[in-house]
Symmetry: C2
DNA sequence: TCAAATCATTCACGGCGTAAATGATTCCGG
DNA sequence: CCGGAATCATTTACGCCGTGAATGATTTGA
């Protein structure tokens, strides 16, 4: 007869929900450390990425898709403008709206962050076979949609 | 000849490293909202889980494994003690050390959080086949070890 | 035309996490 | 065995991030 091993004293640590939390936090932390040299923080990069996929987005739209307060977007835009990554453009059709537009420097910074993110991804998935990596990516995308996230 | 489709205007959003970041953040946010009724925050639950798998751990050890400052553990322990989830016990062999021990109430709270985490996991992995869920779990565990996280 | 809604911005605030200083205890070299 | 250095917990002060509540400018619609 098989010996009944003791139950894991804290099954919580093994749940995927928990692991996703701590993995996400650690990845963010390392990403933040690597982009610090560009005078960027993760949310700045998020804005740059959104601007690349939807040019000239208003600040309020950015706030909504990122799930943060509009006042926070103002500060992020201020900083991005200060380092020359974006410029504010008043919408001529509705002069209340401030659209943000990537500058060449912003595109450049985004490209650097993209390379960085790809490099991190290679490290994260190291040791998995190519098909395993692929199915992990699609499963993760599914998890994202289950959370009502874009894509 | 195949038409060359335009490149994704921001491939960054599609990288697994980026998705892990935002998925982790959203999961943490929802987890936090659900445990708020117990007067708990995610880090409190982390301490409870560590205490379940390694009873009577010193506060400094907790700080090290969680990667936070010892002064933060003090505040977390204060709060957990106040709501009756843990008790402080001085190590008789080294009276500088404060070990934390789960109370019955702490075990109870941890069990509730564990159920919650399992329930969230079911929602996150909804729409994946059983083998897909299994391989996602093992791949995620691999990612965790690639980040030097405990298993 | 004017009141209500919308957008950007500023401001003050709360909360999390850190580093430094303090005190108690333990360790160790001479 | 003794005194200085290291270790652990705690307190305190500080910075930073994110929010919500004004404020002002502009647009909408009745």
């Amino acid at each position: 007869m098989l010996v009944m091993t003791d139950a894991d004293p804290s099954p919580l640590l093994g749940t995927s929900a928990f692991r996703l939390r701590v993995v996400g936090a650690v990845v963010t932390e390392r990403f933040a450390a690597e982009i610090a040299g560009y005078d960027l923080k993760p949310k700045h990069v998020g804005v740059l990425a959104l601007l690349a996929s939807a040019p000239a987005t208003s600040q309020l739209d950015l706030a909504r898709t990122m799930g943060v307060a509009p006042s926070l977007i103002v500060r992020i835009a201020d900083h991005l403008e200060r380092i020359g990554a974006v410029e504010r453009v008043r919408d001529p059709a509705d002069r209340r709206r401030q659209a943000l537009r990537l500058t060449p420097r912003g595109t450049e910074l985004l490209a650097a962050c993209t390379r960085l993110s790809r490099s991190m991804e290679r490290d994260l998935l190291a040791g998995l076979s190519a098909p395993d990596r692929a199915s992990f990516r699609t499963a993760l995308a599914r998890v994202a949609t289950n959370l009502d996230l874009p894509s």
